[in-house]
């Protein structure tokens, strides 16, 4: 069944071991300088962000109906049954529509490579298929990030909100955003205060373009008939005019 991550920012101590484990898993260099860059880039597919005393984590949200999968002209992105949104680099032509379309501004690019790739978190799809947890969950010393069944993760988040209502802002980020994701986030303060975009529509994003795209067959059929009809009528008018010697 579909897996998901629950990240509880109220527990997170900002130790950045998730960043390091992620970098190791993706064979990326990791050092203090990279650790200090608190934003996603080709060097860093997940990041801890510091907001005063609070920490928040950014990574691919693995939407249930991802914009990136919908917009990719070559189907280089795929939402797998297990939850992860994965990238097939050999299909990619580098149009970067996925980066433009992502409501969470997650995909990053290898700008300085001659054979550039889009990069983003893949929810450790390799580990999930083996039944294991993601690297960031495995390494977390305080269990701020945990991996489990998607339904179970939502239930767990609700349990925490009910058990300690004073410690939490009473919402789960990711349940409704963009129609639902596979990463859920808990916070002590409103999400916008710790760097999460709260302006994201609560419905699946691909419907915005599909609402138009689905009419293409009608446009083709009606358009062809209309054009053919106009050609026939106006041409006939010319023929009649010519016959009557008015031309």
């Amino acid at each position: 069944m579909a897996k998901a991550i629950l990240y509880d920012s109220t527990i997170c101590i900002g130790c950045r071991q998730c960043e390091e484990a992620c970098a190791a898993g993706k064979h990326l260099a990791y050092n203090d300088k990279i650790a200090a860059e608190e934003r996603l880039s080709e060097r860093k597919l997940t990041t801890i962000r510091t907001y005063g005393e609070r920490f928040s984590r950014k990574l691919c949200m693995h939407c249930q109906e991802p914009s990136c999968v919908s917009v990719c002209p070559v189907a280089a992105l795929e939402k797998t049954k297990l939850g992860p949104v994965i990238y097939h680099e050999d299909r990619c032509m580098g149009c970067r529509y996925c980066m433009v379309a992502c409501p969470f501004q997650v995909p990053v690019y290898e700008w300085n490579s001659r054979i550039p790739r889009m990069r983003k978190c893949d929810l450790c799809a390799d580990k999930l298929t083996q039944g294991a947890a993601t690297r960031c969950s495995e390494i977390c010393p305080v269990n701020a990030t945990i991996t489990g069944e998607r339904n179970e993760m939502i239930a767990e988040a609700h349990r925490r909100l009910v058990e300690k209502p004073k410690d939490y802002y009473p919402e789960i980020y990711g349940v409704n955003e963009a129609g639902g994701t596979s990463v859920f986030i808990l916070s002590a303060v409103s999400f916008s205060q710790i760097g999460y975009n709260t302006q994201i529509p609560k419905s699946p994003m691909p419907q915005f373009t599909w609402a138009v795209l689905q009419h293409i067959p009608q446009v083709v059929v009606v358009g062809t008939v209309l054009m053919g009809g106009i050609y026939w009528i106006t041409g006939r008018r010319d023929d009649v005019a010519r016959e009557e010697g008015r031309q």
Binding site: S70, V74, A76, C92, N112, P206, M227
Partner: protein, 395 residues
């Protein structure tokens, strides 16, 4: 200033631009996107998409507009300007495809959408339409080549299937001109409400038709000067009327949509957005109002300037949709690198140069099917046409 020095000035400009574009090309393909652009993870699309693709495709809309006018609507009097319009469109699409190769991170995979399908992707649809329509334009352009080399049989065979080809061209253009607007529908929260609207596909389509007409006027004027020939002024006058009406329809739709979405409040928000929105609207509304006056339509120069003004408004609109509208939400400011500008201007210069060569060597301004019985142009147009190579604006 003598006409000769002007001619040399523009030639020199063209050469300088081409050289700059060449240097930028080395930077792009010898290096990377990072080395040749100011794009970033926060701002992944720049002027190569905003201008070269969005504007390029729109500016080439004259091809389907005029082809439909003459071949579908049987308005045969416009026949003398169909061929230059199709040449412009064909060149335009080839330059768009070339520009796309600069922008793609992996340009060698540009053919992938043809075999790796994702029908849910607007980009997939645009890719298919542009590929097919460029083929259609090649077929619409082919008669000129066949005529030039007197391949009569092939020409007649092509003639027989021309109407379905023209209809296909109109359908494909309708689809992808509007789809360039649909591309942006998936990011409502990223775009400024001055530009984001579910109406984007229709607005893109209507403004593309107006742009096709304005470009036809633009290129008629320049051909008349460059080749010291007289273009049928009454045709341009008729086009300018239609242009004014289509701009009016566009602006009416735009304003009604803004009101329906209660988006006018965005004009109270400080920042550059409202000014750029204003520039775009003024550059479209002023030529429209002017063209509704008979006085304006009696002067070739005024018609030309109105068309240029509208075209600038159109370009501003596409740049606003593609760049301005998303700058604030991205959190960064995007200013194109010199190499991005060089490639863009170099492609425009290449477009002018190739048009010139093609017009010299192919029967672009001759039509064997009809005798040119258009009325003689008014004195004003003749006078304009005599001093070739001068820059018309601002002098």
């Amino acid at each position: 200033m003598s006409t000769r020095s002007h001619f040399n000035f523009w030639r020199l400009m063209g050469v300088v631009l081409m050289l700059a574009a060449l240097a930028a090309t080395v930077l792009r393909f010898g290096g990377s996107l990072g080395a040749s652009t100011n794009l970033s993870d926060q701002f992944p699309w720049g002027i190569w998409i905003g201008f070269d693709v969005l504007c390029g495709v729109g500016l080439a809309a004259g091809g389907f507009t005029l082809a439909a006018t003459v071949h579908i609507f049987h308005l045969k009097r416009f026949e003398p300007i169909v061929r230059p319009a199709i040449l412009t469109a064909f060149l335009g699409y080839m330059l768009v495809c070339l520009a796309l190769l600069f922008d793609l991170g992996r340009p060698w995979n540009v053919w992938h959408p043809l075999v790796m399908w994702n029908p849910h992707s607007v980009m997939f649809e645009v890719g298919w339409c542009v590929t097919l329509y460029t083929t259609v334009l090649a077929l619409e352009f082919l008669p000129l080549v066949l005529e030039r080399f007197r391949l009569e049989r092939a020409r007649l065979m092509l003639r027989r299937i021309m109407i379905p080809i023209v209809i296909l061209g109109v359908i494909l253009s309708t689809l992808h001109q509007s789809s360039l607007g649909t591309l942006f529908l998936i990011m409502p929260q990223k775009m400024n409400a001055l530009w984001y609207t579910p109406m984007l596909p229709i607005l893109f389509y209507v403004s593309a038709i107006a742009t096709g007409l304005a470009m036809t006027i633009f290129e008629s004027w320049h051909s008349a000067r460059a080749f010291a020939r007289q273009l049928e002024f009454p045709l341009v006058q008729k086009l300018s009327r239609v242009l004014a009406v289509i701009i009016a329809v566009y602006l009416a739709m735009r304003f009604m949509d803004m009101s329906a979405r209660h988006a006018w409040v965005m004009m109270d928000q400080p920042g550059t957005e409202r000014w750029l929105f204003g520039v775009e609207i003024v550059l479209m509304a002023v030529p429209m109002l002017l063209l509704f006056r008979e006085h304006t339509r009696n002067s070739p120069q005024a018609i030309y300037l109105c068309s240029v003004m509208y075209l600038l408004g159109f370009v501003t609109n596409r740049l606003n949709v593609g760049i301005t509208s998303m700058e604030r939400s991205s959190g960064v400011q995007y200013i194109p690198k010199w190499s991005e500008v060089a490639v863009t201007l170099g492609l425009v210069a290449a477009g002018f140069a190739i048009f010139r060569v093609a017009a010299h060597h192919l029967p672009v301004f001759e039509d064997p099917n009809i005798e040119l019985t258009a009325p003689p142009p008014p004195a004003a147009w003749e006078a304009e046409a005599s001093d070739a190579y001068t820059v018309p604006s601002g002098q």
